[in-house]
């Protein structure tokens, strides 16, 4: 669940308030958004993706709120990592050049599982799909 907004990084642009699909955030009285309905957070990382200032940290557990240490987050390099991987705001003109490999890699994994299972269960054959 969303765990922290770094006040000193936040520019108050409110992109995250608009982008959160689950209405977790409200406009703040000052400029920093307020986490108003944490129970509605689905841990989708979309607020991080839409924050141009990399000021938001979503903690990994969707089952319950987590306490985080802002200094440790800054030190971890995780802040904004997802957005950089996504290629947003990095100036990468071809962010999806590896995307075609998704299908073949999915299939390769599935085939490995089938081959492995056949070795231990020679009589088994995969169900028709």
């Amino acid at each position: 669940m969303i765990a922290h907004i770094f006040e000193d990084l936040c520019t108050g642009c409110n992109a995250c308030v608009a982008a959160c699909p689950d209405h977790v955030l409200d406009l703040g009285p000052a400029t920093v958004p307020v986490i108003a309905r944490l129970d509605q957070c689905q841990t989708c990382f979309m607020c991080e993706l839409y924050c141009p200032a990399d000021a938001i940290f979503v903690a990994p557990d969707q089952r319950a709120p987590e306490h985080v240490d802002p200094a440790a987050i800054l030190a971890s390099g995780q802040l904004g990592q997802m957005r950089r991987d996504q290629g947003w705001g990095t100036g990468d003109a071809d962010p999806l050049r590896e995307y075609w490999r998704l299908g073949p890699l999915l299939m390769e994994g599935a085939q490995r599982a089938v081959d492995r299972y056949k070795q231990s269960h020679p009589e088994w054959s995969p169900p028709e799909r």
């Binding site: 993706l49 557990d61 490999r101």
Partner: protein, 526 residues
């Protein structure tokens, strides 16, 4: 703030890929289009957090014929070859038109990779495409109910703007319902707002559902966070003592039942050491949101075992939804069209899941057809956007008896507990289904009688009502199909009965009913 009142030719309800394509298709005909989404068009719905790979078959007659007959067979007699052909063809023609807005890249073989698109970029592209065509997008404007003309045809919808905190109503010549499927708040990635609202609104207005018994689908993820599944396809599974579990691979019934049996013995752990090696370096670039739940928990995804869970997908990668009555995806209610996961996908997937390629091709095609059909109907309409209307919404908006406190969370928990548990879902039986139906009927009756919401509370209250309603339809349909077929697995009726090779239609809000389509047609012919 005072109520927002708007007029349009076509109103699209929803903000995922089906809604996006519907709005684009309608706007291309010159219609005035308003799109109202519960969330934000770009992040809401399961399209945004997924990376849908579309059913992608080149326009070579032999290849298409082969693809269709393969999927027709695996649909257990309930699919429709003509619809399959249209979906393949429309997807092939239309998806590349997104090129000005989406950074399509190489396919590794000298061409362009069109079929698979990444969620956030896809939804951003649809948003920009629609905006350039003049579509008015209203984010954070969940619809609550349909408006009807006195003759029962659709006149628009009403809802609540949750950032501005005011009611809205929009009059339109036709409405496209593209609100996605329902995952019963299982925690499935991207699905929190997918609560079945569109089915509830439409059935209250008289629409019918089809295939609601095909609502059993699950996706594997770490126990603490639902993600996409790319890294897990070669997983081995272990129990808490480190013994390897005997789980047949795949994604079908055998695999799910194997995992379900393992969960009865305690926590299950996945080991990804067999995953294809390139994933270690490029996972972040393909699926950037899959790595953080591990990195931030200090779990080395490919080197350490981690606890897993199956997250229910309900009617998202299940198949049931609003019944389609014509080639433009109109429902049985005049002026109301259905698209994407809000509609039944039996026409192309039959009794199985359309996940993995068909569902997104369906969402694109049904969205496109519905948008065009809605625009055509609106243009022909002579009625105009005034005249009296009825508000079709009832449960949680206009209680039947004295208003009193009803706990939405408890109602949702009852619904989820009937539909999601693996042992109930993968081994359906008359007795347990009947017991579930009693519980669901009680919760529904309580909501109908007493729940009354105002302001922002309306949104959550209607979500709870829609989840309970969807659970009732799924459970009721499961009872009405006394056989096993596709993803509908009855432990007490394991065989597939040739005489039941017909789509099952469900309807009603308080008193539910079902009828096999074959019987409907026989009745109409008689």
């Amino acid at each position: 703030m005072s109520e927002l009142k708007l007029e349009a030719d076509v109103l699209v309800i929803g903000g995922g890929m089906a809604a996006g394509w519907a709005a684009i298709a309608a706007a291309r005909t010159g219609a005035r289009v308003v799109l109202a989404d519960k969330g934000f068009v770009g992040t809401s719905g399961v399209t945004a957090t997924a990376g849908p790979n579309h059913w992608w078959v080149p326009p070579d007659p032999a290849q298409r014929e082969a693809a269709i007959s393969r999927r027709f067979q695996s649909g257990f007699g309930l699919a429709d070859k003509a619809w399959m052909a249209r979906v393949i063809d429309t997807t092939w023609r239309i998806l590349p038109e997104l090129a000005p807005y989406y950074p399509f890249s190489r396919d590794g073989a000298g061409g362009t990779f069109f079929s698979g698109v990444r969620g956030p970029e896809y939804m951003r592209a649809l948003r920009n495409f629609a905006t350039d065509l003049g579509v008015r997008i209203l984010d954070h404007h969940p619809a609550l109910e349909l408006l009807l003309h006195p003759d029962g045809s659709v006149a628009g919808a009403a809802g609540y703007a949750r950032l501005e905190r005011r009611n809205w109503s929009i009059r339109a010549g036709a409405v496209v319902m593209a609100t996605g499927g329902c995952a019963f708040r299982s925690g499935l990635i991207g699905s929190r707002g997918n609560t079945g609202d569109g089915c509830l609104m439409a059935v209250e207005a008289g629409a019918e559902l089809s295939g609601m018994e095909f609502s059993v689908a699950y996706t594997l993820s770490p126990a603490w966070c639902s993600t996409r599944t790319l890294p897990y396809t070669a997983a081995r599974f272990f129990d808490v003592d480190g013994n390897e579990l005997d789980i047949p691979p795949g994604s079908g019934a055998e695999h799910l039942r194997g995992l379900a049996a393992a969960f009865r013995g305690g926590p299950v752990y996945a080991d990804l050491r067999d995953a294809p090696a390139p994933l270690r370096t490029i996972l972040g670039r393909i699926q950037p949101a899959t790595a953080p739940p591990f990195a931030r928990k200090g779990v080395r995804l490919f080197d350490e075992r981690f606890e897993v869970k199956l997250f229910g997908e309900g009617t998202i990668r299940g198949t049931g939804g609003l019944r389609i009555a014509d080639a433009h995806c109109q429902t049985t209610v005049r002026g109301l069209f259905a698209a994407g996961d809000a509609a039944t996908r039996e026409l192309i997937a039959g009794a199985t899941s359309g996940g993995g390629a068909q569902n997104s091709a369906w969402a694109l095609t049904s969205g496109y057809e519905a948008g065009e059909g809605a625009a055509t109907l609106a243009r022909k309409s002579v009625r105009g956007n005034d005249g009296p209307v009825l508000r079709a919404g009832r449960t949680a908006l206009r209680p039947a008896a004295a208003a009193k406190t009803v706990d939405d969370g408890a109602a949702i928990a009852v619904a989820a507990a009937q539909i999601l548990p693996l042992d109930k879902a993968l081994w359906r039986e008359r007795e347990t289904l009947e017991a579930s139906q009693l519980l669901l009927d009680q919760v529904w009756a309580e909501l109908v009688a007493h729940r009354q919401a105002e302001g922002l509370d309306q949104v959550g209250a209607r979500e709870a009502a829609a989840i309970v309603a969807t659970a009732r339809w799924c459970n009721f349909a499961a009872l009405a199909r006394p056989e096993s077929r596709g993803i509908h697995l009855r432990a007490d009726a394991p065989r597939t009965l040739p005489e039941l090779a017909s789509r099952l239609v469900t309807g009603g809000t308080d008193a539910l009913w079902t009828r096999f389509e074959a019987d409907l047609q026989a009745g109409a012919a008689a």
